[in-house]
């Protein structure tokens, strides 16, 4: 067996394959063996419950999916009392994902979260009116939020970046300066679908967040750019559908990856990817993941 374990910052994970926030729920545990995963990131949690956006919330695009969910969640208290205890039973590292529409909200949530391996900070949701990508596009705000969160918690902090920031090297750098242990590059890409019959945008909030294989080259490029500009571990996320995509992310500079909407297309993708990654590494004479970059 090839050693798939990874270390970055203070974290040690058995492999680099994580499940992204917002795509999975507990019924998936009946299909995916969560114990085999490197970890999972829980659905974004806000201080107070959010009802989410009015439907329709999802539609398909070529090799992709665009959503306008709007961070529907039952709020922080429910996360602590209901979701986290259930998540702990999955037998895999658990990361909370927190969302606030002000720095104060981020601080309040961060100060109360414990019993997880780390906190991913969502400053990049494209589907909300306040916060979200409005925060993630501005390096100063990224710095302020990251710093505020890091001051409230001893847990490793991962900042999930906006893919469309004018300069993602700067926002990644701001996250590092603020004290982030790693960055996730990146969230979904804002995009538009037009309903031809109604002659107006398909989503009531006009734009949605695009994910799936359609965005992989874009997200991969973000990883590459950050790697070459900022010394911070990167979790690559965007359009991973197979083990070769994981290899591309690792070679581009990611330490780990997150799988997202591919589990809609194929719920067994995470396990197939891990199996195929093992085989590829073995066939290519790699003893561990560091060897992936050996020429």
């Amino acid at each position: 067996m090839v050693d798939l374990s990874i270390k970055f910052g203070s974290l040690e994970l058995k492999n680099p394959v994580l499940l992204a926030s917002g795509v999975w729920d507990f019924p998936y545990a009946k299909i995916i063996d969560f114990k085999r995963l490197g970890g999972v990131i829980c659905k974004s949690v806000s201080l107070k419950p959010k009802v989410g956006n009015p439907p329709p919330r999802i539609t398909e695009t070529p090799c992709g999916v665009i959503n306008s969910i709007g961070l529907e969640n039952k709020g922080f208290e429910n996360f602590i009392s209901e979701i986290l205890p259930e998540a702990r039973k999955l037998g895999t590292p658990i990361f909370a994902n927190i969302f606030g529409d002000s720095i104060e909200e981020f601080k309040k949530i961060a100060s109360k979260i414990n019993g997880v391996e780390g906190i991913e900070v969502n400053i990049s949701c494209p589907n909300v009116d306040k916060g979200g990508e409005n925060f993630g596009g501005d390096p100063k705000t990224v710095f302020s939020i990251t710093k505020a969160v890091c001051e409230e918690t001893e847990l490793p902090v991962i900042v999930k970046l906006t893919p469309t920031a004018a300069n993602i090297e700067e926002t990644a750098g701001a996250a590092k300066e603020g004290g982030a242990m790693a960055v996730t590059a990146s969230n979904t890409f804002p995009g538009l679908v037009i309903d031809i019959e109604r002659k107006e945008p398909f989503f009531k909030r006009v734009s949605g967040g695009l994910s799936g294989p359609a965005v992989k080259p874009l997200a991969l490029y973000n990883v590459y750019r950050i790697k070459n500009a900022v010394d911070i571990p990167i979790i690559g996320s965007g359009g991973i559908a197979g083990y070769k995509d994981v290899l591309e992310y690792l070679i581009a500079g990611a330490s780990a990856v997150q799988l997202g909407s591919i589990i809609f297309n194929n719920p067994l993708a995470p396990i197939e990817i891990l199996d195929n990654l093992q085989c590829w590494l073995k066939e290519n004479g790699c003893k561990n993941l560091k060897d992936v970059n050996k020429k």
Partner: protein
């Protein structure tokens, strides 16, 4: 019961009017499928990316079928699958329910699929069924064999299923009613039933889904109690609870 994910070969793809009836074999899915359940079905491809939710149509000990109507690229490709072609299936999904022994079923177009599946759990009743053309009306003989009185109407003869529901609404009092069709049709029937003060009615709600398991929160429907997920708390909802806009 826990859903299962399978890659299954197509046993048969048979044309039924404008529809394709696709039969697949999986003993486990058949064993645990109950009334109200559906499956997510997708091709082994990244484009189309998302699987589509389909009600069961028929279920036997080892095989089950779904009914496909071409609406877009995904259903067009699915409608053409040949025997032996392997497709992805996740299920059974959704909230099950116990149907009445006898009741009223109302179907428009491809809405016939879930109500036909439901009728398999019933001893009979009354079916209102509308389609565009006479040749698109399917399973009418089978409904009769299952003890249903069948009342049909077609658009080519100038009528909608809502017209016959309106005509016979006085007969529906006290009966449980299940409706599957377009949102416009369900809204119209809701108005008719409200006028007759009939409240034991339920609607099958169709929404585009991502995962089918409650993970992505995509298939929200507005109800009197806020948004609910069709995949987890549906697909069947009390008609008075859903806000159809």
């Amino acid at each position: 019961m826990a859903p299962t994910f399978r890659i299954l070969p197509v046993l048969e793809n048979k044309k039924l009017g404008i529809y394709s009836k696709i039969t697949l074999e999986d003993e486990r899915i058949c064993k645990y499928a109950e009334c109200g359940n559906f499956v997510m079905v997708g091709l082994q491809a990244l484009d189309p990316y998302l699987p589509r939710p389909f009600s069961f149509l028929e279920i036997n000990k080892k095989s089950f079928s779904i009914l496909v109507k071409v609406k877009g690229k995904g259903t067009e490709l699915l409608s053409k699958v040949e025997k032996g072609y392997k497709i992805k299936v996740l299920g059974p999904l959704g909230k099950t329910f116990c149907p009445p022994k006898r009741g009223v079923l109302i179907a428009g177009g491809i809405g016939i699929a879930p109500v036909y599946y439901q009728s398999g759990w019933m001893k009979g009743g009354l079916l209102f069924y509308g389609a565009k053309r006479k040749k698109d009306l399917i399973f009418t003989r089978e409904f009769k064999e299952r003890g249903f009185e069948v009342r049909t109407i077609t658009e080519e003869n100038g009528g909608l299923v809502t017209d016959i529901v309106k005509k016979y609404a006085h007969e529906l009092n006290g009966k449980q009613i299940f409706i599957c069709g377009s949102i416009g049709m369900i809204k119209e029937i809701k108005k008719i039933l409200n006028r007759e003060q009939i409240d034991k009615a339920y609607a099958y709600i169709e929404k585009r889904m991502g995962c089918g398991l409650g993970g992505c929160k995509s298939c929200a429907v507005k109800t009197v109690e806020g948004y609910k997920l069709v995949c987890k708390e549906g697909p069947v909802f009390p008609l008075k609870e859903v806000d159809l806009g």
